[in-house]
């Protein structure tokens, strides 16, 4: 039968892994948001070729498995002289992959900003940059919050892939414990439960953000 005493023994190691998972998720999410924003703006701007650069990036990221992308980055980094940076490789691969989905989310949210608001901003004399900074982007980011939360939950669930390039996140920590104890059941169930807890925390955090900023918008 299930004996969770084994989990208690391994808890410090698993906890360390969980912390790494959260760090990896956070780092990749920040990268994803930055890349997604840039890529979406590139697509909407009049930079020559910008539209196609962004489209090809999105298509390539969405058309290939994230595991293969991780391997390409992991084995590609040494070719440009960066060695033994497993965490960096995982962050880059997962962040760049998610960035493609964030591009689409931001693009849709920008399109959903009422045109009248942009015109209103222009008519009171705001320059193009100001309109983006003060009206379009803040508005689009709030609209995209639920979709972004969804995307970052998916991102969280992609982090176990980092275990294949030996980043000691939660899943890899669990595998190390299993290879010592030969008791996969309890450890794997605990790991799954931990991910669910992290995912639920993430969605609560976003719900709180949403409420906070929705109020801000209603009040302004």
């Amino acid at each position: 039968m299930l004996d969770f005493a084994r989990v208690t023994d391994a808890w410090p190691q698993l906890l360390e892994g969980a912390v790494t998972t959260v760090q990896l998720t956070a780092a990749a999410a920040v990268l994803s948001l930055v890349v997604g924003l840039l890529s979406a703006m590139l697509q909407l701007s009049r930079v020559p070729g910008g539209y196609w650069i962004s489209r090809v990036y999105v298509s390539a990221m969405r058309g290939t498995p994230i595991l293969v992308q991780l391997f390409v980055v992991f084995f590609g980094l040494p070719l440009i002289g960066i060695r033994d940076q497993n965490f960096l490789a995982a962050t880059l691969a997962i962040g760049l992959n998610s960035g493609a989905f964030v591009t689409e989310i931001i693009r849709a949210s920008v399109a959903a900003v009422p045109h009248g608001e942009v015109e209103a901003a222009e008519s009171i004399g705001m320059g193009k940059r100001h309109v983006w900074q003060r009206v379009v982007l803040p508005r689009a980011l709030v609209t995209s919050l639920p979709a972004l939360t969804n995307e970052f939950t998916i991102l969280l669930k992609a982090t176990p892939l980092a275990s294949v390039v030996a980043v000691t996140e939660l899943t890899y920590a669990g595998q190390l414990v299993i290879s010592r104890t030969f008791e996969p059941v309890e450890i794997l169930l605990t790991i799954a439960a931990t991910y669910i807890v992290i995912a639920l925390t993430l969605s609560q955090l976003s719900r709180w953000l949403e409420r906070r900023y929705a109020v801000l918008w209603a009040g302004s």
């Binding site: 290939t64 595991l67 293969v68 939950t153 669930k157 176990p160 790991i191 799954a192 669910i196």
Partner: protein, 218 residues
């Protein structure tokens, strides 16, 4: 970079591609069957049945597919079900995608105007008939685009089956790399393979969508 070497190893990768297609298709079929079950369970009046469907959905949505794969592959044998990697892989893919697909099906069915169902009832059609003649044909057209997206996601996720040595494309890539020591080139080639596969699939399913939604242009 030695692309001649890559060309030499392409047949092995193509063999892997074939298994990628096989395991993904089987996984998608299982996901579809489970999703239909989940939708049906969600529509019953029995609270327990609905609860089971809800719990299944919540657990899958919060669990990474790699962890789910390990659970299927390592835990099922513990309870006496010894399965091959291929079977474990397709069960994982099917399980993982079932709630997402169920959501798509539910959404598509709900998008059929209520008045049409009432009209069907008014002219005396039975429940199953309303499903096959009114809701079904329209729901398929609406469910196809998001289901295509899920199918593409499933194909890409089949790459993780390489971890439990299912002989799909990513696994074959690892075999080739073990011989050639050229990981970067091989993985770029494999990425292109997946890209082409998903692109063709999208193209094909878009044509299918055009066929099943012909009624819209009547």
């Amino acid at each position: 970079m030695d692309w001649g070497l890559m060309l030499e190893n392409t047949p092995l990768l193509l063999l892997g591609l074939r298994w990628t297609i096989v395991v993904s298709s089987a996984g998608m079929a299982l996901a579809l069957a489970l999703a239909v079950g989940l939708v049906a369970m969600g529509r019953t009046s029995n609270r327990l049945v609905r609860g089971i469907a809800r719990v299944h959905t919540e657990i899958i949505l919060g669990t990474p597919n790699l962890v789910l794969l390990f659970i299927v592959f390592f835990i099922l044998p513990e309870v006496g079900l010894v399965i091959e990697p291929f079977t474990a892989g397709l069960i994982t893919l099917g399980l993982y995608y079932s709630p997402y697909l169920a959501e798509v099906i539910r959404g598509a069915m709900n998008a059929v105007p209520r008045g049409q169902i009432e009209a069907g009832e008014a002219i005396g059609l039975s429940g199953p008939r309303i499903l096959t003649r009114i809701v079904g044909p329209q729901a398929i057209g609406m469910a196809l685009p998001p289901a295509t997206g899920l199918f593409i996601g499933l194909i890409k996720d089949s790459a993780i089956l390489s971890v439990i040595s299912v002989a799909e494309m990513t696994f074959q890539a690892k075999q080739v790399i073990a011989r050639t020591y050229a990981p970067f080139e091989v993985y770029v080639l494999v990425a292109v393979g997946y890209w082409v596969l998903t692109f063709l699939l999208e193209l094909g399913l878009r044509r299918l969508e055009g066929r099943v939604t012909r009624y819209r242009s009547l």
